[in-house]
Symmetry: C2
Subunit: 330 residues, 2 copies
């Protein structure tokens, strides 16, 4: 961190932290709401908005195993094949780096992740539950050996116990991974918990040159608030999505984050243009964002799957019945 | 505060702070979106939900001057006459206390605020801009002399300079006011600013027995996050509204706040029932809640009036044009 405190040791509003990198996850996390079936026009619009807004990374989609997920059921961004990405970005002769996410145990990484010199991707993001960490470590090593930047995204952190987390962090810092991400998959964490967890992650990477990242969900309208809490403490990799598009309640909205960051390289205007032209119409096709069922799931620290089902079903607004069911199931 | 830290000095999750009082502002702040023209059915539903949920105070509306605001233009809750309130609550034989808001310089408080023994109201909330404080002090004294609890709500705090604020707080603590409220009218404040301002307010009331209150707006999706930040620091009066109904981007949603508070007297279920039955239909009649124009106003620390106009106009989604205009006007 350079020059982030003023002479009284307070955060200085005239400076910014150049280490901060913004990662757009719109098409990847948003793909969970439409089986990854975005039009090329929309993916290109997100790509162009990210380039124009000074966003650092764009995550285009998953590298899912074609043995597990069928091409017939899912759109291109479930697989993020090289030709599909290049159809949108060409050789990506921009300052925006490209990533794809590979879920531990659900990807054929040895074959489907090409050597870096054959790919337009820059970074592989390994998503893992705590019990899959041995697999995740092998994936990190594989991607690193192939020449990629890597991140490891520790999912569902709100249900991981502290001893397990501590061990996981100790093991992960010994890998070549570039960034270790705190992922609040359930949108369950409050600011105090974010502060405590971020501190734990930062302590684990101290002195290694690795970065801490934050990926939040908006189940309790805390996605943006929690992102800036982590950022203030020292997390330097910040995930966000345009219009907050993402699974269920969605993610930290890019437009809020860009409006907060002080580095003049970030520009809000292209993001607003993209929302106006593409995301206002998209809201008529698919629903995402804060609603009461997601709130209930977040408050109860549960996976949003029941809330997703409810919002897609015939009684999306029967909140009391849903609450009673969730409380009982707990 | 009793027993809020554990033996290591950390916040203890098994305790709660009995001094915390939740104040429902649904009908009052929400009235700004429909000229205070709520049906009796809705006002009664909010009242009953608050009683059942264990909410401590309900603000029914304004005590606006009938010389300034016409009865023809506004609904009952612009004036909150005694008969209108009693039509909803009878003698209010419940644990829920009732409040009304009186704006400095826009109320005939000497005549329109009755002696407490003639009113079903328990508390008068004086809303004031910083330059109206002499009037506010007279209003506090008047209401206190008549037998009411009082609060003073310092509006638009994000555009008040620190020296003026310090002086205002010094003067206000000398009045008989019960609570002094930090009001983020523009939804412009970030968590760090909330923490700094809340600390200032708490320092000012230290040792006086007065409480600090927090009233937030959701322009940057921070209304709930900022409310719990202030609460964690020691603010004990927490404003919220059902479904977040309130001017523009709305307020801290009651359902999020009730879900967070640990005191078992609070019950989320009646709030969910009220949302399901009354607020889902209400959303088809009036718009409130986070949208991009409110976000832009919040980020620029501006009054939401231009954003309100835009959302009510013919081009509610032309975000780029709105942004360009706001930036230019700054």
């Amino acid at each position: 961190m350079t020059n982030i405190k003023d002479k009284n040791g307070n955060d200085s509003w005239v400076t910014y932290r150049p280490e901060i990198k913004v990662v757009d996850c719109t098409v990847r996390d948003g793909g969970l709401m439409n089986s990854h079936k975005f039009s090329d026009e929309l993916v290109k619009a997100v790509y162009q908005a990210c380039v124009a807004a000074g966003v650092d990374y764009m995550e285009v989609g998953y590298k899912a195993s074609k043995k597990i997920a069928s091409r017939a059921d899912f759109g291109d961004w479930k697989f993020s094949d090289e030709d599909d990405i290049r159809r949108i970005v060409g050789e990506n002769k921009t300052s925006l780096k490209l990533c794809a996410m590979a879920d531990a145990e659900r990807t054929d990484y040895h074959t489907d992740i090409l050597p870096k010199d054959k790919s337009v991707l820059d970074c592989i993001r390994v998503a893992t539950y705590i019990h899959q960490i041995p697999t995740a470590i092998d994936m990190i090593k594989d991607a690193n050996d192939k020449g990629y930047e890597t991140t490891v995204n520790l999912m569902s952190i709100s249900v991981v116990n502290e001893t397990d987390l501590q061990k996981a962090l100790e093991v992960l810092v010994k890998t070549p991974v570039g960034s270790i991400y705190l992922v609040d998959s359930f949108g369950a964490l409050y600011s105090e918990q974010i502060r405590s967890l971020t501190s734990k992650f930062l302590a684990a990477v101290a002195g290694t040159g690795k970065q801490v990242g934050i990926h939040t969900h908006n189940n309790q309208q805390l996605a943006y608030a929690n992102t800036i809490e982590a950022l203030i403490l020292g997390a330097n990799r910040l995930d966000a999505t345009i219009a907050g598009l993402g699974r269920g309640a969605g993610n930290c909205p890019m437009e809020l984050l860009i409006g907060f960051l002080k580095n003049p390289k970030y520009d809000l205007r292209p993001v607003l243009g993209c929302i106006e032209k593409y995301f206002v119409p998209l809201r008529k096709e698919i629903e995402w964002g804060f609603t009461i069922p997601y709130m209930i799931a977040g408050q109860l620290n549960l996976h949003p799957r029941e809330a997703l089902k409810m919002r897609a079903g015939k009684t999306p607004d029967e909140y009391v019945a849903f609450y009673d069911r969730m409380i009982e199931e707990e």
